[in-house]
């Protein structure tokens, strides 16, 4: 609480901004597009305006904030607002993944054993599917998505991807240390390595999905195993993609000479996000691929 007294400046309150309403319209276009497409009212192109507007909005909103920052509008307290904001945003993302991990744990611990005739709801097995034995992986007593399907092993692409992502966590930390010591050359190289590793991860995962769909009969529709596998790894992959794009933007800003050894909130925010994506992956590796 001492900062406020040391610092006599007024807290910066922007006077009117068009970006939030553009963001609201962009989000609405995104959702409305999805509704129109899913309800079969309009063809696939209705999905396009939302992301385009969203990209335009992010570009505009962030350049406004970066511009304000370069003009020295922000000080210690504004900086702390951004930090706290990013922290709690990441926490909300953690809770989003928690819902899907919860679904995975619930089905593995409860609903699949129950379907197999154990515990509180054994009657379902007795009456509906007397021949079903609970196993994991499973696509359920109804064999939703086909009689047989392959499963992803923890020693294949997943292990390589774990290495890729852990290495990228290391490189982003090296980049951060370089930034703090003013070694811009090291910073540029290791930040570039980080997002390249990020895109490598996404590429390998795309390959894994391709294999699953074409050779293993493992699809989103492959019962509960396919559902949890693709939803968890899919949302994670989406977050890696977003994180890698953010790293790329930060790298471009570094090339343009932004950030000082003392003040580089945007860099740190993206680094936090990257570590969050990393930790989620470790949970995925353990609970989806390995156990």
């Amino acid at each position: 609480m001492t900062d406020a007294r040391v610092e006599p400046r007024k807290y910066y309150v922007p006077h009117g901004s068009p970006w939030p309403i553009i963001a609201a319209v962009a989000l609405f276009s995104l959702m409305l597009g999805a509704v129109l497409y899913l309800d079969g009212v309009a063809p696939l192109w209705v999905l396009l305006p939302g992301p385009l507007l969203l990209a335009f909005m992010f570009g505009g909103w962030f350049s406004t904030v970066i511009g304000e920052n370069q003009h020295g509008v922000y000080h210690v307290r504004e900086d702390r607002s951004f930090r706290l904001g990013m922290m709690w945003f990441i926490f909300s993302e953690v809770m989003f993944f928690a819902a899907f991990f919860g679904a995975l744990f619930y089905t593995r611990m409860f609903s699949v054993p129950w379907l197999g005739g154990e515990g509180a709801k054994a009657l379902t097995n007795f009456l509906l599917w007397p021949h079903y034995r609970a196993t994991w992986p499973t696509n359920g007593p109804g064999h939703v998505g086909g009689k047989t399907f392959g499963t992803m092993s923890a020693t294949g692409i997943a292990a390589v991807n774990t290495l890729v992502l852990l290495t990228s966590g290391l490189t982003v930390t090296i980049a951060h240390h370089a930034l703090r010591r003013g070694k811009r050359g090291t910073l540029k190289v290791f930040l570039a390595l980080t997002f390249l590793l990020g895109f490598t991860f996404v590429g390998l995962q795309a390959h894994e999905y391709y294999e699953a769909y074409t050779r293993m009969n493992l699809r989103l529709t492959t019962g509960i195993y396919g559902s949890t596998f693709f939803m968890l790894t899919g949302f994670h992959g989406l977050h890696v993609t977003i994180g890698a794009i953010m790293l790329l933007v930060i790298w471009i800003r570094v090339l343009r000479g932004h950030f000082t050894p003392e003040r580089h909130f945007a860099f740190e925010a993206v680094a936090w996000y990257w570590h969050f994506v990393d930790v989620v992956w470790l949970c995925l590796f353990v609970f989806v691929y390995w156990l």
């Binding site: 009117g16 309800d39 709690w88 819902a99 939703v144």
Partner: protein, 535 residues
């Protein structure tokens, strides 16, 4: 708002934008708060109209007014509109107006984000209300949207899912903003345990929002992919379980009901000391009780689904953890009563609503305790007893606290005093007819009348008629509120002093009325803080 009351020091900084830009590009916490409150009012009357149709249909047995499918859509939408459209935006509106004023901040910490959190909502509600007019009408499986019933709705299904995603984004961004404002923009010297209780309860509410809105988004996403992309989350044939949805939904849903009520606790804890002219009894106990309630809210969700067929050990756990909540809630009610004990009481409209809150919220709390008992819940589950319970905590609970807050702070917002006599009419009509409306539902539920039905056996007719009459008068008397507010803002008697209430404490009453456009451009000094504490 009249500008003549602004102090000279503030007037020069008062570049207020004009015209539509002021609202669409708004970054000012008061403007955004006002928009939230207006939106909440509109949704309150839309959701209320749905309730009026419901009560008209249930006036006597027989299908006379609306089609059963329409009736089911109306009950579903009434719940969703009131929760997400009326009560939650009202709390965020009050938070926007009051938190910066109460902690000595110039504005919210992230003003542009604040604008986005609001402007998402009109779009979200457009999508949600438009779902009434698509083929097959709005979803009709109840506000809890359980599969597989929810999976059977047509074009309105994705509209509702995406509307809820939008509301969730808005709530998360709003909650982040509130946490950051409270943690970062407090005046020097305002330690956490010196914050007004409305700020405290909102801080804890914001944590709840950030923790559970993403979980709701997850549940909605699973519904969406089950419906359109062939996943098996809620499909037993594929190894999933419809009950999984209930777990995920109520992991969100129980903290959600505390999101609806904790800010009410804060407002009541501000108002009762003001009009009892005594400091709040047990301030710290109130803070800890709020935190305990919030913590417990995460481990009680199973009590919403006792009859779904869960293991006995789980039923026992959820029953006991639920009954534990009565302890911190009891601390709160005790402290409110103890604050009034031997106080120098006066009964202006905010205090009337606050006292009614203490009594009637407790009625709802006690019926909640009855519902927490597994064996009795087997009897009450899915009956009108449950409807009576949650309407007691949400209408004379949350909604009365919103009214109390409006009547308490309106003079500060507008610089005018409202018509006290009309406000008392609003109070007495509300408090009498809310009981005529909801109390008979206890009897109906105990007698076995199921909820969410368009028609019922004739033996339930008498109490349904009473409830409907209560509903019509209660509904009509709510029209007084917008009239009172409009009249106050247009032509109310100006408030000369900083505070129209002689017993009110807190930083907001150190500001002129109406409050300057930027509340505390320079943080208040320790002397101002000390004055606000004592008054």
């Amino acid at each position: 708002m009249a500008e003549s009351h602004l102090s000279a020091a503030h007037a020069e900084h008062d570049h207020k934008p004009y015209g539509w830009r002021r609202w669409v590009f708004a970054t000012n916490h008061k403007d955004i708060g006002t928009m939230y409150l207006i939106l909440s009012g509109i949704m309150f009357f839309i959701g209320g109209s749905a309730a009026m149709v419901i009560r008209a249909q249930l006036f006597k047995s027989g299908m006379e007014l609306v089609d059963p499918a329409v009736f089911n859509s109306l009950t579903t939408m009434h719940g969703l509109i009131m929760i997400f459209g009326a009560i939650m935006p009202a709390w965020v509106g009050l938070a926007n107006w009051m938190i910066p004023m109460q902690i000595g901040a110039p504005d919210m910490a992230l003003p542009r984000l604040n604008n986005l959190s609001f402007w998402i909502l009109p779009f979200a509600f457009t999508l949600m209300l438009a779902s009434f007019f698509v083929p097959g009408s709005a979803i009709a499986g109840g506000w809890t949207m359980y599969p597989p019933l929810m999976q059977q709705f047509g074009d309105s299904f994705p509209m509702m899912i995406f509307a809820i995603h939008l509301m969730g984004i808005s709530s998360i961004l709003g909650a982040i903003n509130i946490i950051v404002t409270i943690m970062n923009l407090r005046a020097p010297g305002m330690s956490l345990l010196r914050m007004p209780l409305f700020v405290w309860t909102w801080l804890i509410t914001a944590y709840l929002l950030i923790a559970v809105m993403p979980v709701l988004a997850g549940a909605m996403t699973m519904q969406l992919t089950d419906h359109f992309f062939g996943t098996s989350f809620f499909n037993a044939a594929g190894g999933g379980d419809p009950v999984l949805f209930l777990h995920v939904f109520w992991f969100f849903g129980h903290p959600e009901v505390y999101i609806l009520i904790l800010p009410a606790f804060g407002i009541i804890s501000e108002i009762i000391p003001s009009f009892a002219r005594k400091p709040l009894f047990g301030y710290e106990a109130m803070v800890y009780a709020t935190a305990s309630i919030a913590f417990l809210s995460f481990i009680v969700w199973g009590h919403h689904m006792f009859t779904v067929g869960m293991p006995v050990a789980a039923q026992l756990f959820f029953m006991l953890s639920t009954m534990l909540i009565a302890v911190p809630t009891g601390v709160k009610v005790f402290n409110w009563v103890a604050t009034m004990w031997r106080g120098s009481m006066s009964f202006e409209p905010p205090m009337l609503f606050a006292i009614a809150f203490v009594f009637l919220f407790t009625v709802g709390g006690l019926s909640g305790l009855m519902l927490s008992l597994v064996p009795s819940d087997y009897q009450y589950h899915g009956t009108y007893f449950v409807v009576a319970h949650f309407h007691y905590v949400l209408v004379p609970g949350a909604v009365f606290a919103i009214f109390a807050g409006i009547y308490y702070w309106l003079p500060k917002w507008s610089g005018h005093m409202y018509d006290m006599r009309l406000a008392k009419w609003h109070f007495w009509l509300s408090v009498i007819f809310v009981n005529v409306l909801f109390f008979p539902m206890h009897f109906l539920g105990l007698a076995g009348m199921p909820r969410r039905i368009a028609d019922y056996a004739p033996q339930f007719t008498d109490w349904n008629m009473v409830a409907s009459i209560g509903g019509f008068v209660f509904g009509a008397s709510q029209l007084l509120l917008p009239y009172i507010v409009w009249k106050c803002v247009r032509s109310g008697k100006p408030v000369e002093a900083n505070s129209p209430w002689d017993g009110a404490r807190g930083l907001e009453w150190e500001l002129p009325s109406p409050a300057p456009y930027h509340s505390w451009e320079f943080p208040p000094t320790e002397a101002v803080l000390a004055h606000a504490d004592k008054h």
